[in-house]
Symmetry: C2
């Protein structure tokens, strides 16, 4: 850690002078969990009420061609918060607790030494929060962290000044337990003080408290909802479902089917999250900060069975578009014209450089970043630099080069022309062998680069 | 790692000068796996043929009151090779692959990201090999490593110049697989070149090759047999049994019971290991190195059901004496009188300081060690400094203070007077509440010290 601090001191001397604190924008990064590509009004949904996200879209830019780095939460988030491919930063898997899925409940001791508890993202990685903190920001992390539960891995050790949330993959929305283990953390400690209160409400409360306390200093708030992820509970009736409060459930018609009721809760959870986002954005407006606040919204990966990823094929844990192309909204009134749609090929790897540049800082020089500042693209000043993107998860592989997409997976294979076939229905691998060859070759080159990259744990072998 | 190297440069300047290379003794540290306290002739066994270990005892010192730091292999070995309590170095558990024990065989990908594959002893720990290497030694590690399988954790990255062995908890003696996965490693890579050959024979071959190649430089060889640990195999007939070759099985009478046959293989595996030890000691003699070679033999923890831990109670994975008091032999002709028995209270924590002192080196100053150089005790020059020892594993706890022993575990509790009751049959906790109080208080103090120690992973929470 000392070495890391030294690295910082050397790297950031360049970046921090010459910018007045007042001009730095606030940054609000909102992440929803497993929300489908089509699960908000601004992406075409007519059934789910998302008035505040729709307003955010209307006041900013809607990105329709935007990808995350993995089809599962942990690696997607590691890519987002480090600006590096999960395969480069070493967190390309979940820090899983397999046994609970095999019908075994850990004892306290077993859980304390389980991979879910003891693993986390390599501490040599530099999180966006660390860069912004060096640049004078006050940082808050509210909600799902997902990159390690031990203290050393928690947000407050990675450049965040405040943390309230949970650090494993999913919780029960009310008890905040995962498979029976308390999981809500306040600061660096487990806390059951808020047990019983709906998680979205808590995250809203904490986000407002953080913003209220920012007082004149630029803030960076990462607000990572658990909604609409399904709950991780020991109760088989609740496990695997999405939870919402009665107030929001009432907004949707009751169903007489089990699936219908589950879908109802899914929608209600999104609407409830939407309401919290609205309340927080309203507070920012009331504080006079709206103009100079960069707001980013995205889902961490595609939706699961209750979600609607149309017109995309597949969903979470897959590399068809439904698993990795996600809804994304960006608003920054002082820099971005309202009401735009941008269909440039962009990814969550662009967010780290964009946030750093927005803060008037420079990227740490010694580190390889896989994206670029996409703000000029959103401003219409330049074309996107991105021409290719690669994914790998549990043996499934995918590449996109230009408008061509190649997928090789347990759920299906193929070469698709996204320009003509966004639903990935027509496999052109036989018709276009030379393009297939190009994509698989580029994928192999990428994979080789990842394998030769400076070793980072915990999942990378070296 | 760079910081660690720097630390070395600073620490070892003091220790290395002033000693001629020629005078430094060779060190041969032999570890058997799950061998019971009573499972060799020199500890009273009449059934198992261990002529070479008996000769080693006759030529050296037999330690009858000697403990390891845990009742399971991985933490016991982490304590031995770092000179620190497992609770201090952070490796106090097994790097387990739980799922295989729940009837699930990992796919290659699952195994590659399993805890068994990706965890290892904290790289900030300084292994005995690292200290001796700085002191001019050539180091070899042959056999069971058990402290991490990724390259970064393997012996050759921890100060060893040669490695041949396996890095997980147990293998099939012939296929060298663990639950179907190849597990023999040559250098830093998995190798199936020797598949089919009995593991003990391979370790003997590699040990001889290493010793032959030492040429004039002092060597440190850690020789960690898998015998007589039971085999980890997918075949339910073999899984959980000890394996030996026909040649050694023939030395024991056939049995018509399943348990008898298993016991026969257990004994044969020990005799086969004993023969390899004999061959290696003979080679050292032939090379004229016997006089100035420090040989240490111990079992990593108590034996399991096939073993004989008598007169001790319990065995592996328990804190009754049978789980943690192990047979230990030390021979160093130029320093230790032959044929002694030493019943001083000593532990494997004393081995690190003893080996460092034997090499004419000093312990790294900035590191807390939990033992002391026990050579003067074995020489009869001083009394043992040790008056207490503490153990903890999966919630079980134990303390020994003087001749009093306290155990609290799932398998039984009690306060025992080891001077009168080495078999821990008479619980004196009601008769001696003040002694019980003292031991539990000292245990609590120790536990607090461990919890407040500089954080080390992977199992320690911080």
């Amino acid at each position: 850690m000392r070495l890391k601090s030294l690295l910082f001191s050397l790297l950031f001397l360049v970046g921090t002078h010459g910018f007045g604190q007042q001009q730095k924008p606030n940054v609000l990064l909102i992440i929803s969990d497993d929300q489908g590509y089509h699960d908000l009004g601004s992406f075409g949904n007519k059934d789910i009420l998302t008035p505040h996200l729709d307003q955010l879209a209307a006041e900013g830019v809607r990105l329709t061609n935007f990808y995350v780095t993995s089809s599962a939460c942990t690696p997607s988030r590691s890519g987002l918060l480090t600006g590096r491919y999960p395969q480069r930063n070493g967190t390309f898997e979940l820090f899983r607790n397999n046994m609970v899925n095999y019908g075994h409940q850990y004892t306290d001791y077993e859980y304390s030494v389980s991979p879910e508890r003891i693993l986390g993202t390599d501490l040599r990685e530099i999180f966006i929060s660390e860069v912004l903190k060096e640049g004078g920001y006050t940082n808050g992390y509210i909600g799902k962290w997902d990159l390690g539960q031990l203290k050393r891995y928690l947000p407050m050790q990675q450049g965040y000044d405040k943390y309230y949330g949970f650090a494993n993959t999913g919780i029960d929305y009310f008890t905040h337990e995962r498979y029976g283990s308390p999981s809500m953390i306040d600061g660096n400690r487990l806390s059951i003080a808020d047990k019983g209160t709906y998680a979205t409400d808590l995250f809203e409360r904490e986000a407002l408290e953080f913003i209220n306390g920012s007082e004149g200093k630029p803030f960076f708030l990462t607000l990572a909802f658990n909604a609409p992820h399904s709950a991780s509970n020991l109760d088989p009736e609740i496990k695997g479902t999405v939870q919402a409060t009665e107030e929001y459930l009432k907004m949707y018609p009751k169903s007489n089917t089990k699936r219908g009721e589950k879908q109802r809760a899914y929608k209600a959870a999104i609407t409830q999250m939407d309401q919290s986002i609205g309340t927080i954005l309203e507070r920012i407006k009331e504080m006079g900060l709206e103009e100079n606040t960069l707001v980013i919204f995205l889902s961490d990966n595609g939706g699961m069975s209750l979600a609607d990823n149309s017109p995309l094929r597949g969903g979470k844990a897959q590399f068809f578009e439904g698993g990795i192309r996600v809804p994304c909204l960006v608003k920054w009134p002082s820099k971005l014209e309202a009401g735009q749609t941008n269909d440039a090929f962009l990814t969550s790897l662009e967010l780290f450089p964009m946030m750093v540049a927005a803060a008037g800082l420079e990227l740490p020089e010694a580190i390889i970043y896989d994206g670029f500042d996409m703000l000029p693209v959103l401003q219409g000043k330049t074309d996107a630099e991105r021409t290719e993107m690669f994914w790998e998860f549990r043996g499934d592989q995918a590449a996109r080069v230009g408008d061509w997409k190649w997928v090789q997976s347990a759920k299906g294979n193929g070469l698709f022309d996204l320009k003509q076939d966004i639903g990935e229905q027509n496999d052109l691998s036989l018709e276009k062998p030379e393009i297939l060859e190009e994509l698989t070759r580029k994928f192999s080159e990428w994979k080789e680069e990842m394998e030769n990259a400076a070793p980072r744990g915990p999942f990378k072998d070296f």
